[in-house]
Amino acid sequence: MSEESKAEKFLELFNKGKEFTEELLRENQRLRYRLASAETEQKSGGSSEEVQKLRDQIAHLTEENKRIHERFSAIEEENKDFANRYIEIEEQNNNLANLYVASYQLHSTLDFREVIQIVQEIVINLIGAEAFAILLLDEKTNELKTIASEGDDVMPNIDQISIRLGDGVMGQVAKTGESYYINQDIDADSGAITIDKPLAAVPLKIKEHVIGLIAIYKLLQQKDSFSAVDYELFSLLAAHAATAIFSSKLYSQSERKLNTIQSFLDLLTTTS
């Protein structure tokens, strides 16, 4: 190969290298430009269309979140209502069970002393009384007299109460047939509870006919005061107690009469 052709070859090669280098510089320029654009795009948060799309999505999700939150609050409120209702029903069930057992026991016997014993058990265990008296009305003398009591240590002479119909708190309860309750929190500490002025007095009545009353002087230590349902329960129990006491009294009277007649008949048969 001649020197001339060698130089031509070198020149050709050099030109190709030059073109290649220029091409590389252009590509580099393009890439720089794209990189700069991408960086600007990234900084500005993408294209305005994409931004809008994302904003719409955020608004939609926020709206949905708000709806879910509202639904959650509504369900929570509903749950609270159900829980309160459940507690109320439980309480009602408890009272119905108490009432059922008490009335079942009260009417399970016709023995007067046994009935009084059951009334005492009910007043202690279901009403929660520590000191109380059961008084019956003597219709001949119009006097209320204690026939059973508990808590002589708390209220001395509780077993010997004798009150005329219409006299004082208890006499009025027996006369009017209206229950009487004192506000324990206010009056108990000020010593307002006396033998004549109990914490509560509930008449024992059959329809409108009062046969006696139950007077409560002190509640059990763990029972602070009467609750709203206690008043209802106490009145219902008193009504059952009244019929049970009255029936057993009638039964024992008729038993006594029957025995007298039987003895008389026996006497007649033996003498004849």
Partner: protein
């Protein structure tokens, strides 16, 4: 808890019935009643395996505290859960009952729901 055997020790028939009534919430529950501590010990040595004892404190012949103490000393009976149900609501009474080995102490008047919850917790262990 199903098929549990409960021993109710209480001298008052009204309270016995009331407690038994509450216990009927437990499916197939068998309720054995005793009128005092001595009667309860007889029932405990009977054929029924007792799962839980509910006892009053103030009873004739043998009171509830004596019963709790005797049950806890007996190798065969000592693990039976005991609930005291009583009118005695003072803190020292509660402490005495629990110190003797009772698992729970409930003051009268009882709330059925509270009694059921206490029993469920004791029998779930």
């Amino acid at each position: 808890m199903e098929n549990a055997n409960f021993l109710v020790v209480e001298d008052s028939p009204t309270m016995r019935q009331l407690i038994s009534f509450s216990l009927k919430r437990f499916k197939n529950a068998k309720i054995i009643e005793a009128v005092d501590g001595v009667d309860a010990l007889k029932k405990l040595s009977g054929p029924d395996k007792i799962d839980l004892i509910l006892t009053d404190i103030n009873m004739p012949v043998m009171d509830g505290l004596k019963l709790v103490s005797l049950v806890r000393q007996n190798a065969q009976l000592k693990n039976i859960p005991i609930i005291i149900i009583t009118t005695e609501g003072a803190e020292e009474d509660r402490e005495r009952g629990l110190a003797l080995g009772a698992n729970a102490y409930i003051s009268k008047p009882i709330q059925s729901s509270h009694l059921i919850k206490t029993i469920s917790e004791l029998l779930a262990v």
